[in-house]
């Protein structure tokens, strides 16, 4: 599987912040990997990761949410396969013995391609924006440069509010750039609707209307 091989061979380029205990979890059920995290809500929640020594690992949640009993998200690592042996379809068959998995090979491939953005040196600004993972997007924006990306995609700034910016791209999509006051990390969030202010767009990200969003403390 070429994509896995590329990821494995370039794993040394994956930034430190994306490793957890020597594993890079590039896929998780009910998310696109790197997003919805440590979930004990679904008994078939699983992850697929890459270790620092180049093996593919798999883990699933042993909790049982269906009975209302919550368990720790215990990682049960199954026998790993090196990238040379890793064949996705075989992996899927082996995994299916353990639980009723609903994800597809396409889901996993999509996550791998998303993860490859971290190790490629030729990432185009429009690819950054197409990443469905906000953390990868955040990292790439920092690497490539926010202003460069804006210029490249023809983003129009509709509103500025402190460190936030509301953008509309030539394609019509709307994003809001926010800065985390605690970590100084900047995120570009893809929002829906026709917003006129940063606050309106940020409120939308929490499922609220602009007048409903009034946090008294933000950290």
């Amino acid at each position: 599987m070429l994509e896995i091989k590329q990821l494995v061979e370039n794993r040394h380029k994956i930034p430190d912040e994306f490793w957890l205990d020597e594993v890079f979890w590039f896929y998780e059920t009910h998310s696109d990997g790197l997003e919805i995290k440590v979930s004990c809500y679904d008994w078939d929640a699983e992850r697929i990761g890459l270790t620092k020594d180049g093996n593919i690992v798999w883990a699933f949640d042993s909790g049982c949410s269906c009975t209302g009993e919550w368990a720790d998200f215990d990682l049960q690592k199954c026998p790993t396969k090196s990238h040379k042996e890793f064949i996705l379809s075989d992996f899927m068959k082996e995994r299916d013995q353990y639980s009723e998995i609903t994800t597809t090979e396409d889901d996993i491939l999509k996550s791998i391609n998303n993860a490859l953005l971290l190790v490629r040196e030729d990432v185009e600004p429009k690819e950054v924006l197409s990443s469905e993972n906000a953390e990868i997007r955040r990292y790439l924006i920092k690497r490539i440069g926010y202003e460069k990306i804006k210029a490249d995609v023809g983003a129009k700034v509709l509103h500025t509010d402190g460190t936030s910016e509301l953008l509309r791209f030539k394609t019509g999509e709307m994003y809001v750039k926010v800065k985390d006051s605690s970590t100084d990390r900047e995120y570009l969030l893809f929002v829906k609707g026709n917003h006129e202010t940063c606050k309106s767009a940020i409120a939308w990200t929490f499922g609220l209307r602009e007048h409903e969003y009034n946090p008294i403390i933000e950290t």
Binding site: E17, I36, S65, W70
Partner: protein, 96 residues
């Protein structure tokens, strides 16, 4: 209303729904290992789906509790029930 990172806490008169968690972690990260957690009280949650904002509640006891996270400043929460909303993007994706 308080925001810590990508979580918004809104005080509510609603009783928490779903099931009570066995720990006080509101939401954790499988990448960094960092967790939003409360120092006292209960965390309740429905089963979130990929497309929805997750339905969490925290129940803070009398005396209050702190909302803590390794990368964000601590927020003191007063007694009461808070609905927790996770920040989302189009298609329901969330950030870590």
């Amino acid at each position: 209303m308080y925001r810590q990172g990508d979580l918004l806490f809104i005080k509510t008169d609603t009783e928490p729904s779903g099931a009570k968690k066995h720990d006080m972690v509101v939401l954790g990260s499988s990448i960094t290992g960092h967790e939003h957690a409360i120092t006292a009280g209960e965390v309740w949650t429905n089963q979130p789906t990929r497309k929805n904002n997750a339905n969490f509640y925290v129940v803070i006891p009398s005396g209050g509790a702190n909302l803590v996270h390794p990368e964000h400043k601590t927020i003191p929460l007063q007694e009461g029930v808070y609905k927790v909303i996770r920040q989302r993007e189009v298609n329901g994706y969330v950030r870590d």
